[in-house]
Assembly symmetry: C2
């Protein structure tokens, strides 16, 4: 019941391991192996139940048929859906996925990247966080196949696949404006992640292009770490401001969730006067009895596109750095 190796087959048939290896890798023709011999090898392999040892092969070829996935937190729906999409697309190419969560901590992501490289993943899909620039630069230098998803850095060239944060955000705010909203507050993360700043820029520019004045007192920035407390605090402050705001726009589903939770827990809110908007959603969101509008991230395409980029790089079909920007699905605005 123990493992069958190339050597076993070669011994039983009295041929060399080399020959068996060639046949098993489908290189019989190329290597001009006699058809009859090749067939015998295949038959014997089947009989003995031979399967190439993954580790031995990986060690020789340096290829592991595995992709490393580094995200902020797989238990977050956005990332778990992304992971699923990546898993599916990777499977199409015969690859598996090994994953790890960074919790937006670049020490963790750095460690994960190192371990995954150590395990010889053929490529890395990374949702980078602040401070990951160093790691990206290193990957660039080493020409290690990788692709960033959801976020990237202006300061360093990289393959990346992201959603069009700027235009998505612009349209969501524009929609509120067109609905007659006058004072649109914005709740964002206080970090320099490009997706977040782009959403902010979309907000600003939408206001501008409709002649609204930018009022920094109705823009709140909360931290990843104390997201719950700070979002609550931001909400509390926003509700007190005069003249009254009539829309709160959340730059992400998590913030929207917490904001809504706050509103429910402090149920003096009049939803005739206050509307909500969110850059992206949870599946549940439209069931909440709350006037909220949101975009929907093209998560599946993000994952698919990321894997495709990795595959191109692995197979060296890549024509240099690749930037993919997918539109936010705003069909739910109507």
């Amino acid at each position: 019941m123990k493992k069958v190796s190339l050597a076993d087959i070669s011994k039983e048939l009295g041929v060399s391991k080399t020959l068996v290896s060639f046949v098993m890798n489908g290189r019989a023709k190329e290597k001009r192996i006699n058809d009859e011999v090749a067939e015998k090898v295949l038959a014997k392999a089947k009989e003995l139940g031979y399967k190439a040892d993954y580790l031995a092969r990986a060690m020789r070829t340096g290829k592991s048929q595995t992709i490393g996935l580094v995200m902020a937190d797989i238990s977050n729906t956005f990332f778990s859906k992304l992971a699923r999409s990546i898993e599916n697309e990777a499977a199409e190419h015969g690859y598996n996925v090994i994953f790890g969560s960074s919790d937006e901590n670049h020490r963790k992501s750095g460690k994960l990247i190192d371990v995954f490289k150590d395990k010889r993943v053929d490529g890395l899909i990374i949702c980078p966080t602040i401070g990951d620039i160093t790691h990206i630069k290193k990957l660039n230098k080493e020409r290690y196949p990788y692709v960033l998803v959801d976020r990237y850095f202006n300061e360093v060239s990289s393959n990346h696949v992201v959603v069009d944060n700027y235009n998505g955000s612009f349209k969501i705010v524009e929609d509120q404006i067109q609905m007659g909203r006058k004072r649109i507050a914005f709740v964002n993360f206080n970090v320099e992640l490009i997706n977040m700043t782009e959403r902010f820029n979309g907000y600003i520019d939408a206001l501008k292009s409709y002649g609204y004045k930018y009022d920094s007192s109705i823009v709140k920035n909360v931290s990843f770490k104390n997201i719950e407390k700070e979002t609550y605090l931001a909400m509390k402050e926003l509700m007190k401001i005069t003249p009254k705001i009539d829309t709160i726009y959340f730059s992400n589903n998590r913030l929207a969730f917490l904001g809504i939770k706050y509103l429910f827990e402090n149920n003096t809110i009049n939803f005739k006067k206050l509307k909500l908007a969110s850059f992206d959603n949870y599946e549940f969101m439209h069931l909440l009895q709350v006037p909220i509008k949101f975009g929907v991230q093209p998560i599946e395409e993000l994952g698919k596109s990321a894997v495709d980029s990795i595959m191109k790089q692995i197979n060296e079909e890549s024509g240099g750095v690749e930037h993919v920007k997918l539109p936010l699905d705003i069909s739910f605005l109507n």
Copy 2:
């Protein structure tokens, strides 16, 4: 900038690879290596930036420091949270996690198990689906380290970690009874998965022990595949039944979500008369303006416990088959 190997160190110092290997594995004392020599080796290793090659080591030792995780669908919150918990606990032990989704299809899970074994994962954490008995039996025969989570099979002995479905379900139904509900409908999956049948048994027995008569017309079973359509159909039928039901109890959060969605889309429902219950929840659930009560799965403990079981097996500290049954958190019933 290329990889530093044991041989590089041994050459530079004029000692054998064996010695270097011993030192690097902390076996210097045991192998009676001269302290000065050992120190020299460590210093040189640091200087050259030596890191043991994972594949070479894995090939020799047969250990990959990786755990394989097979679930129904990582994009489902239950599983993604479980995955996160498993990832964390595995990391504590220096392990990574490679994952795959079976979509409740035993062909897929079988393939995943095979591939993961091929990749020499040191253990498997499996959320099995119907038809996986064969694979479990095989793992038993091979004495491959594994543990089932969330589900298991009565027909075959296995290590498993599950929630106490029976008692959890019993208490949820009991709670409805104590609230004065008279006709409690049940929406379940139509599959022979033990977690689902146990939830059903809890429902039945709670009814019985309070002298309720079991009425099969208010128990609906839907399939995994057409979950959306069939749940809608079940809801439609339940709402028509007379005498009117006054509680719908969903055996899982997904069913509850779809049921609620149906109710909202057919908004003639009077929530003064109809209450809801669900075995487990979504984070959002209590924000819905719906009278729903639910249990909360001890997901983190499930994952932690599963990894611990695997670790015991890997380190051969396991004293035979292990069954863990964790209580459902019902604190939200109050």
